[in-house]
Amino acid sequence: MTAAPVTATELLAVMGARALRDNQTVFTGVGAPMLATALAQRLHAPGLTMVVEGGVVGPAWKPGWLPISTNEMRAAYGARMLPGITDLFLMAQRGFLDVGFIGGAQIDQHGNLNTTAIGSYERPAVRLPGSGGANDIISLCGEVIVLTAHEPRRFVPRVDFVTSPGYLSGGDERRRRGLIFGGVARVVTTLGLFGFDPETRRMRLEAVHPGITVAEVRASTPFDLLVADGVGTTDAPTERELAVLRALDPARQFLG
């Protein structure tokens, strides 16, 4: 049989889902993160609880009715609890949230994210929308997974503005600046999976997706990327993963 080609969002959602374990609590967002989380819940993690920024705990989204924003009615469907937004984030500060997802952004070699401004803060060349909850998620969750398309413009040696701190200038700076919990555990892109060197906290390629070479990843990453010894290859999305994922978004509003 011939299968439909896998889109960038589908690849991110499948790889994101595989990074989640059963019985985790996951702070998720719209787009690829919500698809990844809902997919994991339907496959290997039935005991997973989703939490959404607008103030939602444990939704059970209706296929075909996925939310466009994290605080609209669709995001709350089937929820167990609708706390206020401040109280929801305070659950993360308390330590109740194991994993947080952050979507597309400008990211640097130490996992810092910029969604605020290209250029100076006061008079930017490009004013981006801002942190929203990204800063809180990266500061307060047990660990963070970044899901992003691997476009060279998104990968920079050092972001112009640290909206959401990864490891700052590397080493133990994150901890020294007061962020004593969490950190960016991995970056999942359309080319591969990345972690961070435990000493320097520089980004390190751990695996490439099928058909992608290390040289291609290097060519799309405008900073000196570390490459793990014996870099692996991920398994391609399975038919079952794709079928369950596609059933969530039959109109392909998010899958592309």
């Binding site: 009615m73 206020g84 984030f89 006061e122 004013r127 800063n135």
Partner: protein, 320 residues
């Protein structure tokens, strides 16, 4: 540093509350009279979140008064922030994020106003801004938190850190934000302003306690008994409320949980206009939707009864 002592001075804020009548009596009035309580230069905080339960009718009535020099704060700022900029009403927007949502891209109006230095956007993390309102709601000048530590957001407003007196840990001292005015839209209130919200609470209860003046609109004004039967559902006490206006569809074309869905095609049309002619398109939108209609009913009539009925039907479908 862009935070001002007026925003975090808890003693001054307490004195303002001491001087405020905290009546258990009638609060019902008109949009025009309610918004007459906003002065040029005030800090106005908006309830809801993004395009959910936005106090759009109150914002509509505020902009019709052609205010100047306002600071406007909201956790996630939707296009009402663009209205404030283009109307020349706002000199500072305080928020964690501004736009409409993923399908509508970056806010071109915010880009234009910020990149040209015409309006300042003071950015906080979402929880950071939530804790600013929470600290004010608690009557304290700051709250300790881990959020925003190490990030460049610390420098934007002028945040500082403190060392925990018990554990020695480094903490962000998130400064309180006491708004002059809160604009809040709720599902139901009695005529004294005791208010109940369905679905998402967002940050409204904190904002109502934080502000010196609370101006509220409600989808429904209910009998005294309806509130007394379910006092556990009341999230804003009447004594905090200065003015209350009965405005059905008071968030439309944004959503109001359980009652009506957001009008996504209207957002798309609004953004298409901006793609074509930038802020001029918003100026024309304001002429048509804000300055043109003389009553809120006339504003709703621009959308038509069928659109309103359809938005109500969709809300039922979404939650069914």
């Amino acid at each position: 540093m862009t935070i001002t002592p007026r925003e975090f001075d808890f003693r001054a804020a307490r004195a303002r509350l001491a001087a405020k009548p905290k009546s258990a009596g009638e609060k019902l009035t008109t949009l025009e009279a309610a918004l007459g309580r906003v002065a040029d230069g005030d800090h106005v905080a908006l309830g809801g979140c993004l395009y959910s339960r936005t106090p759009l009718a109150l914002m509509w009535a505020l902009l019709r008064r052609r205010p100047r020099g306002l600071a406007l704060s909201r956790n996630l700022m939707c296009y009402e922030g663009e209205w404030g900029m283009v109307a020349g009403a706002v000199h500072k927007v305080v928020t964690s994020w501004m736009g409409i949502g993923l399908p509508w891209g970056l806010s071109k109006v915010m880009r234009e106003y910020v990149e040209k230095g015409r309006v300042a956007v003071e950015e906080w993390s979402h929880l950071g801004l939530g804790l600013r309102y929470r600290a004010a709601a608690m009557g304290v000048p700051f709250l300790p938190s881990l959020t925003m530590l190490g990030s460049d957001l610390m420098d934007v407003g002028g945040s500082t850190t403190l060392t925990c007196p018990y554990t020695g840990a480094l903490l962000h001292a998130v400064p309180a934000l006491f708004p002059d005015v809160a604009l809040i839209h709720v599902h139901r209130a009695d005529r004294f302003g005791n208010a109940q919200i369905d679905g998402y609470p967002h940050m409204d209860a904190d904002i109502a306690r934080a502000a010196a003046t609370v101006l509220m609109s409600a989808e429904e004004i209910v009998e005294d008994d309806a509130i007394r039967r379910h006092p556990d559902r009341t999230v804003i006490p009447g004594f905090a409320v200065d003015a209350l206006v009965h405005v059905p569809h008071g968030s439309y074309p944004h959503e109001c949980y359980g009652l009506y869905d957001a009008e996504a095609p209207h957002f798309t049309e609004y953004v298409a206009g901006i793609q074509q002619s930038g802020a001029d398109s918003v100026a024309r939108y304001l002429d048509r939707y804000v300055y043109g209609p003389t009553t809120h009913a006339e504003y709703l009539a621009l959308f038509g009864d069928r659109a309103l009925a359809d938005a109500r039907r969709r809300a039922h479908e979404i939650l069914a």
